[in-house]
Each structure stands twice: as C-alpha cells, then as structure tokens.
Assembly symmetry: C2
Homo-oligomer: 421 residues x 2
Amino acid sequence: MALNRAEVHNMAAGPSPLPTSVLQQAAKGLLNYNGTGMGVCELSHRGKEFKGIVEKAEADLRELLQIPDSHAVLFTQGGGTTQFSSVFLNMLAYHRLKSKDVPAEQYSPPTVDYIVTGAWSSKASAEAKRLAVPPTPNAQALANVHIAATTKPTKFNRVPRKEEYNFTNDAAYVYYCENETINGVQFAGDVDSPAAVPFDLIPNDVPIVADYSSSFISRPIPHIERHALIYAGAQKNLGPAGVVVVIVRKDLLVDTNEAALLGGVPVCPIELEYKILADNGSLYNTPPVFSIYVSQLVLRYLIEEKGGMAGVKETNEKKAKLLYAALEEAERKGLVRLTVSDREARSWMNVTWVIDEADGDEESSREKRFLKGAEAQGFRQIKGHRSVGGIRASIYNAVSLESVQELVNYIKNWAAAEKWM
Amino acid sequence: MALNRAEVHNMAAGPSPLPTSVLQQAAKGLLNYNGTGMGVCELSHRGKEFKGIVEKAEADLRELLQIPDSHAVLFTQGGGTTQFSSVFLNMLAYHRLKSKDVPAEQYSPPTVDYIVTGAWSSKASAEAKRLAVPPTPNAQALANVHIAATTKPTKFNRVPRKEEYNFTNDAAYVYYCENETINGVQFAGDVDSPAAVPFDLIPNDVPIVADYSSSFISRPIPHIERHALIYAGAQKNLGPAGVVVVIVRKDLLVDTNEAALLGGVPVCPIELEYKILADNGSLYNTPPVFSIYVSQLVLRYLIEEKGGMAGVKETNEKKAKLLYAALEEAERKGLVRLTVSDREARSWMNVTWVIDEADGDEESSREKRFLKGAEAQGFRQIKGHRSVGGIRASIYNAVSLESVQELVNYIKNWAAAEKWM
C-alpha cells in the first residue's frame, strides 16, 4: 500500500526527516536550478551559482548560531566518523607547532582528554587510541588517550557529575559529544544545570572539541566561543547525509605536514586537514553539492519560517517535555522505563525507553505490541539502536509538535489498554 | 531569462550532467521512496530499502564492468582526493603485512611508482610524498615516491612512450590516472595501442592502482582483473558528487592498525581503511545516501536504455570521433590547436583545445568570440580549467550525440566566419 508523507510520522535517528517544503524546492532544483537549464548537481562547484549556495549557507549558519568571527565555517565529507580522526591528527599537529623549538627527541607526546557519555564518544576515543600507535614498537605512543570521565559503569544513563571529572592540566584538547544519539543522553542546554558541560572545570588554555552531530541547530550552543572546534554530520537536523559542518577557531588551522617534519606527529591526509579546506573555501576538491544545497535551504527555512534559533528551541523544548511527561506517567504505572535516569540529561532529540524489561514475557511482549500498534498508526523507524534495544523516538527539528502529540496520544492509549491485559 | 533543460548543452567537466529521466525519478524519490511515505534521504541506511539500493548498485556495476569475484566493490566518501591518501596508507600497510616477520628496525620502506600524465596524477604523487614524512627527522621516509614516467616536460600533451617507462621491480604499487580531466589526455582503450597502459612492462607481482574518476563506465576497463584497486569519483558519469566507488582485490583489505603495530607504517584513519568499509558492506557509518541512490538509477538506465557497456562505448566513440574531426579541420586552417598531440591519447571524455594561441590578439581574441557565440547557442561550462586555459568540452555519458553534433555545427560555422574576419 503506497503511503503519502502526511500519513507517516518519521522518527528516524538518522538519516532523518526533512521539511516537505524544502524537499519540494530541492526536487525542482535537481532538474533546473534557478532557471539555468541545469540541475544543481550538474553545476560546476567553481561557478558563481554554487559558490553562492555555499556563501549563503555559511552566512545563515553564522546568524543562527551566532558564530564569532574568530571561527571559520567549513563544509566537508566523510561523516562524523572521519572527524574522529581529523580532530586527533589536526589537534596533535597544532600542539606540536606550539612547541616548534623542541627537537624531536625531546618532544613528549601530549595527553588528550575524552569525556565518554555513550556510543559515539566511546568510538571517538577508540579512534584516538587506534591512531596513537607509536612509529616503532619501542617508541612512545603518539598521545596518551585519557578518559576524563565516563558513565559507562551505569550504562550511560546520565552525564558525569562535577566531582567525577578528572581533567589533565596541559591536555592537547578535551573532547565531548553533546548529544548521544544511541543512548538518548545529552548535556543540559542551561549552563547552570549540574548536567551542563563542565566548562568551569576545564583549564582555560585547553582547547575544547565537541561533536554536535545529533543536536546541531536544535537550540543555541552554550559558550560557542569557548570551543576550539565543533563538528556536526548533516543527517539529523541539517540536510541529507554526505556533508559535515566544522566550526573551527582560525588559529587552529595548521599545516600538518609542517608539524610532522618537526617529528613526533603524523601527517593528516590532505582532505582531512582543516587548513586545506579553509584556504580553499571548502572547495579544495568537489564538495557534496546536493547535501550542501539542501542544507542551505533548511537553514533559510529555519530563519524565515521557524523563528530562527529561539523559535526552534522553543518548539523542541515543548516536544521533549510533552513526550517525557507521557513516558514518566507510563513509568509510574510500571509499563516502561526511561533509560536516562537523570532528568536534566535527557536528550531533546532522541527519547529512549524500554518496555520488555518491565514485562519479562518474551513471546507476547509489550514491546512487540507497542511497536506493531505504532506502525499501524504511521510511526516509523522508532525501534532502538541494535546495540541497546528498546524504543527510540527521534524528534529532530523536522518532526512537528503535532506528530509528537500523536505519539503521546498513542502512548496514553497503549498504556490504558496494557493495564487491562 | 529562465531556460529549460532542452535549451542548454551542458558540457561541464564535473559535476556533470545527468540523464533527465533519472533526475525526474530521483525528484520523486526525494519526496517519497517507493510509496513508503518517506523520502530516500530520510530512510535509515540500515533499513531494508536502503540496503536494497546499495545491493542493486553493486550488482549492476559488477554486470556492466565485468568485475571479477576476486574484487570487492565499496561505496565511500571524500572524493578522489581522499583516495590519494587512502591508496598510499592502505597499500603501505599491505606491503608491511607481507613481511610480518621482519622487525621494525630491519624493515626498509618500499618504493611506490607513479605514472604522471596530468594534473590529477601529479596531485596523487604529491600527496604520497606529503604523507611519506619520516616519523623523526633523521629516520627514513615512509616510502620512496618514484615517478616511473611523466609527460610533464611536454605539458602533458600525450601519454608516455613505452621506452620512457622505468618501473621498480619490487614497488609497493604502480599508480596511474586513466583519464586526465584537466589535460584531456587518456590512455587508449585498445590494449594493443602504443598509448595503452603498459601492463606488459609492469612486474607481475606489483599491484596496479588506477584513478578512473573521469572515464568510469564510459567504456569497458581493459584488464580489470589485473588491477589491485580502481577508484572513481561519481560526479562525471555516475551520479551526484559525494560518493566514490572503490573496486579492490579482496586480499588487499588489511587492518592498517595491525600493520602499524609492526612498526614502520602509519595507521590509516578508520573511514579511509578499505577493510573497515568492506567488513561493513560500505555501511560502517552513514553513507551519502542520495548520491548512491542516483548512481543506482544511472546504472540501471545504462543497462536498460543505453545497451550496457557496449552500447555506451559505441556512442562515446562516435561522439569523440565527430568532435575531433571537426577540430582537426579547424586546426588545419590554423584556427585552433588541439592540446593533445598524440591522437591515440586524446580523451573521449574531455576534449581540449586552444584558440588564442593561434590568434595572439588579446583584446578581440577569437577565443572570446568563440565562447560568446557558444554561450548564445546554449553551450555551457566549456571554458578550460583555470590552470590551463583554452576550451574544454566534456562529453560524458549523459551528453547526447545530438548535443555533440550541435557543437560540431557551431565549430564549423564559427570557423567559416573566422576565415573572413
């Protein structure tokens, strides 16, 4: 049975829904961009049309997130996973160049601090360890990868408490993932919350790196100016998979080959070096034109039709409150368990809960009934990530308040029915 | 003035035109894929719909190019430029693992052989040199980058002659670029041509790596089975920019971290490691879904509507012959100069010539008149690359024989008019 867009509530964790009006515009641009007789994917990336798209995307992003002039905005490829490597290699080069006068044999590899709050920050720290292999078996590792705090022992059910952080004074950088898509745990947007990123505990001159992939442009970024680097894969709130935005302090744009020639740090593959991208206005080689184009349309749409970052934040907060309230009610009845125990660290984007655990009956489990019923009501892609199970409703920017209200109604009806089973 | 697609002849060098019927289908899929009520960019890459797209794309590509079972087909990101680095890092790891028992202090870095025939192979060899920086200033470079032949002294106006090649017996690999997009020079498709890739001169056990970005699926790949690795960026003949196809011999899929632990070679960033991609069916992280989707539609279209590889080759050969014949005629009249002097090495995809050189008058130059007239007739994006100047007509798969015929007519009329000026 063929369905139309209005009949489904797509709550996928990523790739995720995009606004219908944006997709309609993109479909036109695909065949004919601005009356050029050529589609947007058929234009030279060096021509004035495409350069205009990149410039507009950057300007709108700067406006939405209040990005300071001290930072460059780059569009690149390879997904967030490639950034795990880029961050490590570029930050190591930056650190090496700060001590240019130290000869190779006297240079001691730095420590890099990771805050681990879920699957993605775990992967990021694992990649740092993987890349830190010493050049010869008896030499020192290229960096000491230090876990500054982790909530793994409690299955990532919260962010660390202030007293659990253990930062290194002269770390090459501190890394965190603002929103953990799989685990549904997010640092609080309010900087005064105990679940906020612990900016006050991080030594002043240590660069801060953040993965914002799954919460990008869903609300303002607290202390954006304090970050050395923020990156985000597009495929949650911004546009089609294939483009990554990097916001990076300009003094961090370094020649990794120059650093490697000093000894003690590896060269970064050219396409992964931020300086190369910045020097070429994100057009060092052919960029992912369609993903950038749709992202630009989404940014414009947020400014023109959604009230900018303030409007988007307000709607997202309402959506999250509504859904968590319904789930908390079901939790009190013993029907579900919210996997993030600390309310202030519950994600506004990925709402995760389990059902079976409260039931125990595998065959005719509540979870199966829940999912089957949800499917029939048009909810899509709400099964939890294969690594953690359960249910996950991802309520990114393009998921409307009405869709969330429908889910809340569904949960309430389901809970009422379950009580009598 | 708004133009429609039928009014322009888009001869861009890349991103390049795509078949209109494919774009129409893609525009529908963008809003609603197969009646799911969700667009193709909004589907989970781990769901059955998207996995189906990847599987179909691979199957069609295997059929079109007769890819042997010994080789894996991967879809990745980062453009051809990222492959410059990936090739070097993965091939070095492969070479290191072949001599697992050699301790780090006895391991000597290998030579890598590059055939340089234009801008892209120059860049590829430069990246190998850039990455080969020794781990400490007094150590050996990670590899000796050797130019096995180059036509740079004659401004890349041909491919090397047989006697000009100087291959290394135990090279870690030999690298070539089959078609140089900027310079309009291509190895001959006929293996018996003196302008063919010199397979007979390359030692049997030396792996061969080829960049096929701008001639991919334009005709069969000679000796495909002899290649260790072939890669191609999509944005010429295959689909929208953002995806790269890698065809790689399965025994070359190695763990670069394992190799680095032996000492003497660096670790490859995880997303650039072929083994990781292969182990995860190209879905290690979120792939560029839209680019893969459109590529799959293009492959189907070539099989169903263009007579497969044989049909495509026949049309491309006709197009090239027609255009070169017209240009040769103008050359005999002293109006143009074809930049590739060796007929057998003239690209079927990127046809390059200069006009001003034959004229000399900068202000009212023939080249300007040519370009202005061409623009008025609907020809688009035919200015030569900024690094070489002149004219470049890129006549990829999606440029019809009729469009090429129109260009030929235009050239003839222009040449007739120029004679009287």
